[in-house]
Symmetry: C2
Subunit: 378 residues, 2 copies
């Protein structure tokens, strides 16, 4: 079924490096912006998406901190975790809270602070999104390693090459250059991307999302507004690579898309603008296929034709995506909605003319979670 | 309003030290028991309460792990965190998920594994339940320190003494001796408790809940069963000691109780059996007052009269409580419900004759969260 929830306000900090600001400072900043944008409504509950604050900042109880520091009173709050999908899952819980009839207006925020730590520490912390009891994790599999294997297999099965991944990265960088909140605004070239330092064969530096500090927030309500949350879906999928029946499918993405389309009574052809979880360039390639925008194993052809550019027939990641807008993990799923609301309001970076229906897809782990939200301008 | 949810199954591992079992093993064990007890229903969603697995076991994505390893398919799952209230909050999210109409049957699990780490590491990890930006945390305040201050103030304001706290600890140990799943089953005496090693003045070793490994799980459903979740409430409160207007009140406990009573259409006098969050003996003392079982600043008199014993007029922590059943943080709120369901079914450790209405109260931080659930045998 569709939801009875609407988006009333959005907020977002700049994504990037915030040496002088704490996790809490970022979280409260985005939350205050969203509340201001919504006209300072009475808030009935708070959900915060976050992945690493416990292990990397010795800071949990983020829900209570928001309620306390913003003076919201005795409202129910919680932190929600589902690896890189934490933000999308937090929105999903907020939607359920409104649908339950217990709450009218809910604040959703996502936050992460990663740049204060060494890369090796972050890599270790992020590996909490793998199953510790599995042989894969103990054997040294990392997330770049996983998506690198998929990319090699994709090249083997299709006519795609490293150039097509570079075209994804270049498109997202070009989009980010118009987004003042994005982490990266420096121009680059296909050549620079293809020759960049190798991270894990065949993925180079530009094929991998960066470490990022940042926060984003939303206010949703049962009270109608101009933007309806037409569908909210969340699914869990295999937590281990060895459970995958097909290396070129991430089943959670496809299933979350099908469920969302069914709830919304829409299909992929109806979507005007998309934010996809491009943690790696290869992930965007698979996701545009899983979500039905392009046929299986043919996403690379669409990329080659420029169909996913902001002015293409299916604009993907007009924000710059995880690759160039940045990926403060718990904030990412919320920031996707921020960009789509701007699109539906008509004042986005890389505005898609007349955008009316928008889809966000947020991935956790190697396919352990996928959350999809479909928004409609009403 | 009341809820339309019922409890169909319960499961719990022994609480204590599980050197040879992983976090996942404990989590799946309790979950399988609950599913078996519920008659192996189709599960539509999973919520896992957990606090420390990211920082202490490098393991997140617990929701997806449960779905994957139990073969539940593409069900939505999430981990929920609210410090020591994580388990109660997970149940609350499951109740909202059923009330939303999106899900019929939901698995709720809570888990923690702490005994593999050194005490100092655990203390550090647990301090994530304080506000890192506050001067209190950087000044060295810990949880025993916080509750120690409250105890000293309580002694100052009332006629209570260390003996009354010891009586709480002794009662809970005596209850635990009849609970085969409890961490501690060794008999003790008031004298031993009062002379035990000091942790923080005036709280000795027996006044403080232990480090514990363990897991608990529940299956709830819209389909009626013999046990109705009559009320579910969750509130956030002050996250810092300096925000407390009164050292002898933990406002979140009182407010969560009042909201639950209102939803249930009941009062404290209607409750037959109680599980309270006795992270310290002093916390139980305050909670029995905040929940309206005894007048403010007079809980110690009730304890002295034995009114909170299993055969008293208001039996509290018949499981042994956090102090003696043990406190595997994320599991605690779920284990409270486990004990109360056993009470309502009539086969509990320290069975209260004819128990029909039960209340669980689960605290997070120094009062950052309090969740209350009221169950009724129908």
């Amino acid at each position: 079924m569709t939801t009875n929830t609407y988006i009333h306000g959005i907020g977002m900090t700049k994504f990037g490096t915030h040496e002088d600001r704490t996790l809490k400072d970022l979280l409260l900043d985005a939350s205050r912006q969203a509340l201001e944008d919504a006209g300072r409504p009475k808030v009935d509950a708070v959900f915060v998406g976050n992945f690493l604050a416990g292990s990397m900042s010795n800071q949990e109880i983020l829900g209570a901190i928001v309620a306390n520091d913003l003076g919201l009173g005795f409202v129910p709050t919680a932190k929600v975790e589902g690896a890189c999908a934490s933000g999308g899952i937090a929105l999903r819980q907020a939607v359920l809270a409104v649908m339950s009839g217990e709450h009218d207006t809910v604040l959703v925020a996502g936050v992460e602070k990663m740049k204060h730590a060494k890369t090796a520490e972050v890599t270790q912390a992020i590996n909490a999104a793998m199953d510790t009891d599995s042989s894969e994790k103990s054997a040294g599999l990392t997330f770049p390693g996983f998506f690198g294997v998929l990319a090699n297999r994709y090249f083997h099965e299709t006519g795609a090459s490293k150039k097509h991944l570079a075209m994804v990265a270049l498109k997202n960088r070009e989009n980010a250059m118009n987004n003042p909140l994005a982490q990266f605004s420096k121009a680059t070239s296909l050549e620079e991307i293809m020759n960049a330092r190798m991270i894990t064969e065949p993925l180079g530096l530009f094929d991998c999302s960066p470490m990022t500090d940042g926060a984003a927030a939303l206010v949703i309500s049962r009270k109608p507004s101009g933007i309806h949350i037409k569908a909210s879906s969340l699914v869990s999928g295999p937590t281990q690579m060895q459970d995958a029946s097909d290396l070129l499918s991430i089943p959670a993405i496809g299933e979350s898309g099908r469920r969302a389309y069914e709830k919304a009574g829409l299909g992929p052809e109806d979507i005007d603008v998309v934010e996809i979880h491009d943690c790696f360039s290869m992930t965007e390639m698979i996701a545009i296929e899983e979500l039905g925008f392009f046929p299986r194993l043919e996403g690379w052809k669409a990329v080659e034709k420029g169909l996913t550019k902001a002015n293409g027939e299916k604009p993907v990641n007009t924000s710059g995506g995880l690759l160039s807008r940045g990926h403060p993990i718990g904030a990412t799923g919320v920031a996707q909605i921020y960009q789509l609301v701007r699109q539906l309001r008509g004042d986005a970076a890389n505005q898609v003319e007349g955008a009316r229906i928008a889809l966000a897809q947020n991935l956790g782990g190697t396919g352990s979670y996928s959350a999809v939200h479909i928004l409609e301008r009403v």
